[in-house]
Amino acid sequence: MTLEELALKTVAAAESAGVDFMLVGSLAGVAYGVSSASPRVNLLVAEKVAGGLGMMTKALDPFVQFEPQVPSAPLTVGRRHVGTSRSTPAYMIELFELFDDGFVQEEFRRRRQVFVPMLGRSTWLPTAEDVIVQKLRWGRNKDLDDARDVLAVQGPESLDMGYIRDWCAQHGTTEHLEAALAGIPPL
């Protein structure tokens, strides 16, 4: 199974189970930044009907083995369902449940629909501004590089920097933002 086949099955499973979603993680970063290979499909998900997430993982069960344990991230306190494709290569799926966090709720509310030709269908993505804020918040080396790449590709002049700065101030990540901006050479 290819990564796009897995993404397609995941999106279809979410829609048929009544689960709202958007792509997050590497794929969301790539949409607005620089292309780089990723072995995983990450979704932020929200049930429209109770039990929807269970229906979604059940629909994916022939292709994906989900771990029984559901770890959460202390940083953001979101429940996380991790699965691995049953076929080779072993791509990963991560489903992060929407949770009570001001930024994550806002990011999800602002998501936008994008048609992806390779998938032959539309999917949902965060805005470029929200990708930057979230990457700076996670703050791992790769996240900081991704945030800088999105800032560089989109250009601060075309981004709502006020929105980005407000959230960074709330998250205490203004220093990360300034470092990312300073890391962009003259283009």
Binding site: Y32, S72, P74, L75, T84, M118, K142, P185
Partner: protein, 93 residues
């Protein structure tokens, strides 16, 4: 011929030029094109990892190669996600 590694300013200029090319290329693409490219890149990168794993193992057994790729990725995940996730919510969260 001077060694660029002995000249930090020249090395930085080269790194910036490489980064600039990457950014300008990405700017010429649409969101849809970038997403298409990541799927293509991911598939081909897995093919290269598979070849590398089989070479490292000294085998022509493709299944063994895929198992090794999986082991590599699991190791990478453990490094990248070290300390990031817990099995239970912290108290008070």
């Amino acid at each position: 011929m001077p060694n660029i590694h002995d000249d930090p300013a020249a090395l930085k200029a080269l790194q910036d030029a490489i980064y600039r090319d990457k950014i300008l290329r990405a700017r010429r693409m649409t969101v849809e094109q970038r997403l298409t490219e990541v799927f293509e890149q991911s598939n081909s990168q897995f093919g290269m990892m598979h070849a590398g794993a089989m070479h490292r193992l000294g085998t022509r057994d493709e299944a063994a190669g895929w198992r090794e790729v999986r082991r590599w990725l699991e190791r990478l995940d453990r490094v990248r996600e070290h300390g990031l996730y817990v099995a239970e919510k912290p108290p008070g969260k």
